[in-house]
Symmetry: C2
Subunit: 134 residues, 2 copies
């Protein structure tokens, strides 16, 4: 069975992927996959997504070290959305928070529900200078 044919790809050839912590059930992020990302993710067990802003594939954690390991990948009833249950190393959000969903909406207000636990500069900062030889 060709799994890619079971999926309703959108006009851009993408499908949204809800990413959830396998253990806690926390929803971590929403990402997108194209056919190559899906095939590679199923093959390697290491989620790779399509960046719509950079128009390129990105392996989650390749820069930050905050990698994911796939535990389960589920397709929905309509065949147009995926749910990836993962083990998340460190934090999922580039802001240093465990999840990307931390802005609670009121009718006219937004309240931040979580503080960063990691300094984003530590995740994406410039490489540290080599230590002087002692």
């Amino acid at each position: 069975m060709d799994i890619a044919k079971e999926i309703k790809w959108n006009k851009e050839g993408l499908v949204p992927v809800v990413v959830q912590c396998h253990e806690s059930g926390k929803v971590l992020m929403l990402a997108w996959m194209n056919r190559e990302a899906l095939a590679n993710t199923l093959k390697t067990g290491k989620p790779i997504y399509w960046s719509r802003s950079r128009k390129s594939l990105w392996r989650k954690g390749e820069t930050s070290g905050q990698t994911q390991t796939l535990k389960e990948l589920l397709l929905d009833c309509d065949g147009d959305t995926l749910l990836a249950k993962v083990v998340q190393k460190g934090v999922a959000c580039h802001t240093g928070r465990s999840t990307c969903f931390f802005k609670k909406l009121g009718r006219k207000t937004i309240r931040i529900t979580e503080k960063p636990t990691v300094d984003p500069a530590a995740l994406y900062g410039k490489p540290k200078k080599k230590k002087r030889p002692s």
Copy 2:
């Protein structure tokens, strides 16, 4: 604060909404909202979505009776995805399953992980004939 301005709507004026059971953490479905759906949902606490296929608003459960009550609505770091934590009455999926995500993907296989607990015909079937007066 105009909440709608805090959201990055896509070209169609929509934003994806991950819908999660507030209590169990189970991811139930992915839906979409336009500005009107968002404002109405925040006002009423009863999620209403935009159907991309029917091109109209639909109050979750209006036909099936499987309604949702909003507990929390969260926006993600990029401002382009919502997470709705809800109390789901009955089943979320039109197939009669608790969740829309029940097709587990292997590299070349799909396995159904959950059987329907409700007959879809009971949710969407024709109105029952009136009982004869006794």
